[in-house]
Each structure stands twice: as structure tokens, then as C-alpha cells.
């Protein structure tokens, strides 16, 4: 167990470095890094401006811009090679300095702190929706495998899996909010109840397609498990069917779901960009899209890093979760 854990940990650290380095170099190699940091000011011909008449008041503005550029070069160490810059940047990240938005000079750490809760609530609610729907759905489908309900749910999940997130969001928004007016159409933060209620549709948009895929996985694994000897044994022990289903068959059938849980969190994070847009949720997803559109690179970079690292860590935790699901993994 200890060795297993250490090996995973080493891999985790390696992947985190690789992921951040990849993101960092993308920002530095694709396009002009100076531009990425100071925007249009990078185009200024500072030497010419310096050389210009010191008296000329029309150049005052340009001169201060040039100072900003020089400052940026210094803060972002733009005259150093990329690997060095990367290490300096990682160092900054460790001290909690995530950079500063050059749209509004707000520290990125502060932006993240402000927007993260909304996104977290959304993602957690979405996972609750997907598991809450998928587990009963998969259990019933497997219990009555190949009967009408099961066949119907195959078709339904096929459909759900073919609707892109944004399309499902728009359809749900139209039907449940505008047409039948069951849920609010926009984000509310006045009260906790209102907040949760306004998050139901976004969470369903993210969670339902996932529920369909969880349901498929769970159903297939359950059908296999239900043919295992130990299920027969449990029946020979005289335990009632639903007790066997939940106490004996479910846990060993959760492997695929747990495996996909990590990846699906990635898909969900991607989906949250879109969903926050549709339902006007002021979260990380909307922030990054806005930042991309405004070429606010420090924000983009910091959020991408945050998201990628979270994703890597979630998958690491999921791997550890296996050992709870199957004690045999611990022995390996």
C-alpha cells in the first residue's frame, strides 16, 4: 500500500509539473509573450520614443507606457529563457502570487477566490444529480435487463449522450424556465435556497448526460456482477433481492463509474464554461472565457493551471478510492 501510494504520488508530481510547464510554454511560445502580458503596449517602439524630444508632451503618455512595458519585462522576467521563467512563475504560484489581471489590475488569486465557490457548487450539484439519477436508473435497468424499461433507457441514454451540453442547456432553459416557468432563468444569490434552486437547471445540464453514461456503465457491470457466484451465494443465504443488490452487487460494480468519475469531472469542468455562460453564473468558467476574449493572459494561465491541477489531483484521489472499493487493489 505504501509503495503503491508513493509511486502514485511521484507520478502525480511529475504530471503536475508537465501540465503546468505545457500550459506555461503554450502561453510563451504561441504568440508573443510580451503581448500576452501587456497587450497592445507591446507594439510600442520604445527606443524611438526614448530618443524623441524629452520636451514633447505628446509623448508623455507613451513614455509612461514604455515604463509599464519595462516593468512588465522585469516582473515577468521576459529576458530570461522560458524554463527559468517557468520556475520563477511556479515559485510565485507557491507563494500565492497568481499574477495580476491586466484588465483591472485585480490579483488573480482574489478573482479566483471570488468566483470559485459558484463553480464548486455547480460541479458538486451536477455530480449529485448525475449519481442520484444514474444509480437507481442503472440498478433498475440491470435488475430487469433487456425488458422494456431497460430497452427504453438504452434509447434514452443514447439520446442524452448525443446532445451537446450547450444545446441541452438552451433546451432546458427554454422548456423549464421560460415556457413552464418552474426554475428561474438566471443566477440568484440572495439566499442559499434561491442559489441552490437557480443552480438546478445548470446542474441538470451538466449532470444528465453524465447520468446516462454512468447508467450504461453501471448497468453493464451490474449485470456481470449479478451472475457472480457470490451473488448466488447471497441468494442461497436467503437474502432479499434488493438487499443483495445494494449490499453485495453494487459496490463491486462501481469500478467503471468510479474510473469515469475522474474523467467526467474534466468533461464537467469543460461543460461548466458553457453552462455558466448560458445561465449567467459568475463562476470560474465564465471568468476564463471573458479573459480569453479580452486577451487577459495572466488570468487565463492561472485558471487553466488551477483547473488542470485540480483535475489531475481528482484523478489521483479516484485512484486511491479504488482501494476502498476493492481491498484486493491494496494487496497488489
Amino acid at each position: 500500500m505504501a509503495r503503491f501510494f508513493i509511486r502514485r504520488l511521484v507520478l502525480l508530481v511529475a504530471v503536475l509539473f508537465a501540465v503546468t510547464f505545457l500550459g506555461f510554454s503554450a502561453m510563451n511560445f504561441l504568440g508573443d509573450p510580451l503581448f500576452n502580458v501587456v497587450g497592445l503596449m507591446a507594439e510600442l517602439d520604445c527606443e524611438a520614443i526614448e530618443a524623441g524630444s524629452a520636451e514633447d508632451p505628446s509623448l508623455d503618455r507613451a513614455r509612461s507606457d514604455c515604463e509599464t512595458v519595462a516593468e512588465a519585462r522585469a516582473t515577468y522576467h521576459l529576458d530570461r529563457p522560458v524554463p527559468v521563467r517557468y520556475l520563477l512563475w511556479v515559485g510565485d504560484m507557491f507563494t500565492g502570487d497568481f499574477g495580476t489581471s491586466f484588465q483591472n489590475d485585480q490579483p488573480v488569486a482574489e478573482i479566483i477566490r471570488e468566483k470559485l465557490p459558484e463553480t464548486l457548487i455547480l460541479l458538486i450539484m451536477a455530480q449529485i444529480v448525475s449519481l442520484g439519477v444514474a444509480i437507481p436508473w442503472g440498478v433498475v435497468a440491470a435488475y430487469r435487463a433487456n425488458r422494456a424499461f431497460d430497452r427504453g433507457s438504452t434509447v434514452a441514454s443514447f439520446g442524452l449522450l448525443s446532445i451537446p451540453n450547450f444545446a441541452l442547456g438552451v433546451v432546458l432553459l427554454y422548456l423549464l424556465s421560460l415556457r413552464w416557468q418552474i426554475f428561474p432563468s438566471a443566477y440568484e444569490s440572495d439566499s442559499v435556497v434561491g442559489l441552490v434552486f437557480s443552480m438546478v437547471l445548470p446542474a441538470a445540464t451538466l449532470g444528465l448526460p453524465l447520468a446516462a453514461s454512468y447508467q450504461r456503465l453501471l448497468r453493464t457491470d451490474l449485470i456481470t456482477t449479478l451472475q457472480e457466484d457470490f451473488v448466488h451465494m447471497a441468494r442461497a443465504k436467503g437474502l432479499p433481492p434488493m438487499r443483495i443488490m445494494f449490499r453485495h452487487a453494487l459496490r463491486p460494480s462501481l469500478f467503471s463509474v468510479v474510473t469515469v468519475f475522474g474523467v467526467s469531472t474534466g468533461a464537467m469542468i469543460g461543460g461548466s464554461l458553457v453552462v455558466e455562460q448560458i445561465f449567467g453564473i459568475p463562476g470560474i468558467g465564465r471568468e476564463i472565457v471573458t479573459a480569453v476574449v479580452r486577451d487577459d493572459f495572466p488570468v487565463v494561465l492561472a485558471i487553466v493551471m488551477l483547473v488542470a491541477c485540480t483535475f489531475v489531483i481528482i484523478n489521483f484521489v479516484v485512484d486511491l478510492f479504488y482501494s476502498w472499493l476493492d481491498p484486493r487493489v491494496r494487496a497488489r
Partner: protein, 319 residues
């Protein structure tokens, strides 16, 4: 990560776990699990493609035809502002109505197929060429190369797909080529893992060993013996991969990060155009027609793709 030299039991287990993870990219798992009361997917059933498959194929062929020849077909000008009034409901003149700027939604939807299918097709080809090559080389030569490639795939997959796409499109001009490449890069790792896994299977078969004994060079073995066998499972999953790529492009477009410019019409862009609350309330058709066409297209790709996957009996290695 991936083992050293020969696959240890543990290495195999974690690899399988890794492979299982990527099933989600496939969107659809086998629609038929093993029968509860007897043998699983039966040969005869599997080998029948069925009416649904052909319906899906017809839809895809029609969409491909429209995408290729849209400018030559008798559609209204999709970019002409104020073609008739704004937000007009569907009519004989404008089948899908008009959008907020009075542009013909039907014509735009048909033209939207161009970018979606072009990006989808290019991305999957790119993924297959690059990912396939890397996967085969890694699976054939094993050792350090395998470890390096495996690690690269792992890192690529450590980004949520849409976030990686944003990272790339954020820094470059959003041209058709850049968007296609971006989504192609997303396809590299899953396709590569699939190719690597099937290479591992075949590299141990007798015909490869025989070729080696006969003194065939590595290059020849890879091209003559391995490639044809690895291309089959890869090819069987093309349509499923395309479905993912089309959705990815749509998502980027929805966020305004796909191909830039008014000329570049995309389903995602059209849907976001019609998704404002007022438009959704009063001119539902603006968003719903592209939603419907996109849904049917993705459904057709998934459905036909899944049938093909079953037909070739590609199961465990699915990405």
C-alpha cells in the same frame, strides 16, 4: 505509468483503468451489455447493421453533400443581413425563419455543417495520423520511447478537453486550421492509446514473430504487418471520434472561440446567437433549429459509429 519492457500485472491493470477512463470520450458505450441469461452479443445480431444504421448513414451523407456544395446549392445568402424582417417565424420563404439580424436560419444551418464537419473530419484524421503513429511506435518499440509517449498522452489527458482547447485558441488567431488542429490535438492521446494497445496485442502474434525471424526490418513489419491490423479498430471508431470533435467545435463556437469572422458560420455560434432570453422566448426557432440539426447529426454519428464498432467487434480497446 506504462510499464517497463513487458507488461507487469499491475502495469496492465493500471493501463486498463486508463483505457476505461477514455470510454467517456467515446460518449456511448456498447448499447448492449452481455445478456443476463446466456451468451453475450451474438455474432449474427452483431453482424447485422440494421435499418437505424442506414438511416443514420443517409443523414450523414446528405449533410456531407450539403457541407461540400453549400455555396453552389440554391440556398439564400447566409450572411445577408435583413434578408427579410428580423426574427420572423418559419415560412415558405424562410423554412427555419430568420434570426435577430434577419438572416435566413435555414441557409445558415446548412452552411453551418461546413465548419462542423470540416473540423470534425480534419481533427479525427489528424488524431489518427499523429496519435496512431505515436501509439504504434510506442507499442512496437516499447522501452523508453513507450514511457515517453505514454507520459505525453497522460499529460495531454490531464487537461479537461475544453480547457486545453481554450488554452490553444486563446493564444493564436482563430482560423479554420488552428481550430481544427486544436481539436485534432485533443484526439491524439485517446487514439494513440488505442493504437498502442492494439499494437501490443498484434506485436505478440505469430505473424509478426515470423516476419522478424525471416529478417524483415522494423519499418517493414510496422507498415506491412501491424498497420493494417491497428487501422481496423481505429477506423471502426472514426465516427464516434467525429461525434466528439463536432461537439467540441460546437462548444468552442458557443463560447465565441471557434473560427472567427462573420463568414464563418457554425452551429454553436448560431445557437448562442439565439440563446438570449428574449430571443429564446419570442423567437425560439433561431436557436432550436440549429440545436435540432446538430443533435440529429451527432446522434447519427454516434449511432452509426456504435453499430460499426459492434460490427468490427471492437470492445475493450474502445477509447
Amino acid at each position: 505509468m506504462s510499464g517497463d519492457g513487458r507488461p507487469s500485472r499491475k502495469g496492465r491493470a493500471s493501463r486498463q483503468r486508463l483505457l476505461r477512463r477514455f470510454r467517456v470520450f467515446r460518449l456511448v458505450r456498447s448499447s448492449k451489455g452481455p445478456e443476463p441469461d446466456g451468451p453475450g452479443e451474438n455474432e449474427a445480431v452483431r453482424r447485422r447493421l440494421g435499418v437505424g444504421f442506414w438511416l443514420a448513414v443517409v443523414w450523414l451523407v446528405v449533410m456531407a453533400f450539403i457541407a461540400l456544395f453549400a455555396p453552389m446549392l440554391p440556398f439564400a445568402d447566409p450572411t445577408k443581413v435583413g434578408y427579410s424582417g428580423p426574427r420572423e417565424p418559419p415560412s415558405a420563404g424562410a423554412w427555419f425563419g430568420t434570426d435577430a439580424l434577419g438572416r435566413d436560419v435555414f441557409s445558415r444551418t446548412m452552411h453551418g455543417a461546413r465548419i462542423s464537419l470540416a473540423v470534425g473530419g480534419f481533427a479525427i484524421v489528424f488524431g489518427m495520423v499523429v496519435g496512431g503513429a505515436l501509439g504504434i511506435l510506442a507499442g512496437y518499440f516499447r522501452g523508453r520511447l513507450d514511457q515517453a509517449v505514454g507520459f505525453t498522452f497522460f499529460v495531454l489527458l490531464s487537461f479537461p478537453a475544453l480547457v486545453l482547447a481554450i488554452l490553444i485558441t486563446a493564444t493564436l488567431e482563430r482560423s479554420l486550421l488552428v481550430v481544427s488542429l486544436t481539436i485534432g490535438i485533443l484526439a491524439v492521446a485517446p487514439v494513440g492509446l488505442l493504437a498502442r494497445a492494439s499494437t501490443l496485442v498484434y506485436a505478440e502474434r505469430e505473424f509478426v514473430a515470423a516476419a522478424r525471424v525471416l529478417g524483415a526490418r522494423n519499418g517493414r513489419i510496422i507498415v506491412r504487418e501491424l498497420l493494417p491490423n491497428v487501422v481496423i479498430p481505429m477506423g471502426a471508431l472514426t465516427l464516434l471520434g467525429m461525434a466528439v470533435a463536432v461537439v467540441a467545435e460546437g462548444s468552442l463556437a458557443f463560447l465565441g472561440l471557434s473560427v472567427a469572422g462573420d463568414e464563418a458560420i457554425s452551429w454553436g455560434k448560431m445557437i448562442v446567437d439565439g440563446a438570449g432570453l428574449r430571443d429564446l422566448q419570442n423567437a425560439t426557432h433561431v436557436a432550436m433549429f440549429p440545436v435540432a440539426v446538430m443533435f440529429v447529426t451527432v446522434l447519427a454519428l454516434n449511432f452509426a459509429g456504435d453499430r460499426i464498432r459492434q460490427y468490427f467487434d471492437v470492445k475493450e480497446l474502445a477509447f
